[in-house]
């Protein structure tokens, strides 16, 4: 599987955020998107996720399911956690697993991997920011999708949870997945391509 983009441009509110961006990521590879605030790291991920229309250029996926769009084969982990405080931790994950077409049997394992198994019956509103983030990440584990689009995945996570996420990302890559991640710091993944936005391309 190979996800590639050629000459992407993004115009938001009449302003050119970026132009002429190209990249190519294959199964087992990671693309780290870096750059100052406001250079369009999030916008680039949202373009790939189909949440922003492409102004110019194109994105193509080779080796994916031809019946599905790229967005339908991707997980998007944005700044918000997409959780409902009134529902329990388990109910939140069960909903997204059901909605995204995963198997209900994966839920327990996903909660365990996120370290939230003991909290399954608590309302999600009781969780700390880091715990909410981990619950959001558990969604990526409960439902298999080859493409992970992660927007600052390490933010709000403590050192232990960051390490755990790095491990999960390694597993995903080993299973033939690919990752696009916007990041400020390092992802802790050895061989990552870096796409630096905001500098002369």
């Amino acid at each position: 599987m190979r996800l590639s983009a050629a000459n992407l441009a993004c115009v938001r509110g009449g302003r050119d955020v970026f132009t002429g961006i190209s990249f190519s990521v294959a199964s087992g590879e990671t693309l780290a998107i870096t750059g100052r605030n406001g250079v369009g790291k999030s916008s680039l991920l949202r373009i790939v996720a189909g949440l922003i229309r492409i102004t110019a250029g194109e994105i193509a996926l080779e080796g994916g399911d031809p019946e599905l769009t790229i967005a339908e084969q991707a997980h998007y982990l944005g700044h918000q956690d997409a959780l409902k405080p009134a529902l329990s931790v388990g109910e939140n994950l069960r909903f997204w697993t059901g909605f995204l077409g995963g198997k209900a049997t994966e839920i327990t394992a996903a909660l365990e991997a996120a370290g939230l198994h003991a909290l399954a019956d608590l309302p999600a509103g009781y969780l700390s920011a880091g715990q909410r983030r981990r619950l959001s990440i558990a969604r990526l584990l409960a439902v298999r999708r080859p493409i992970w689009l992660l927007d600052e995945p390490m933010s709000t996570l403590d050192a232990a949870a960051q390490e755990r996420l790095t491990g999960l990302m390694h597993t995903h890559l080993a299973q033939g997945g690919l990752i696009l991640s916007a990041t400020h710091g390092t992802l802790g993944i050895g061989a990552a391509q870096e796409l630096r936005l905001g500098e002369a391309a």
Binding site: E112, A113, G115, A118, A160, E163, R164, T166, G167
Partner: protein, 67 residues
Amino acid sequence: METINHLPFIVGSYAAALIIVGGLVAWIALDFRAQRRALADLELRGQTRRSAGPRQQRPMEEVKEKA
């Protein structure tokens, strides 16, 4: 003749009182049971959590070994 006419309303009133007061009592009793069960459940969990404290660390250690 008036007496027979009024009876349904009197019975209705007392039935309404029975339903509303009975409903209140049932709601309070069920709520009491639910809260007590939730507390007992939490206590049980609290004990297992304390004894399983070290086990929770394990997944992170595995990750460390891999990395």
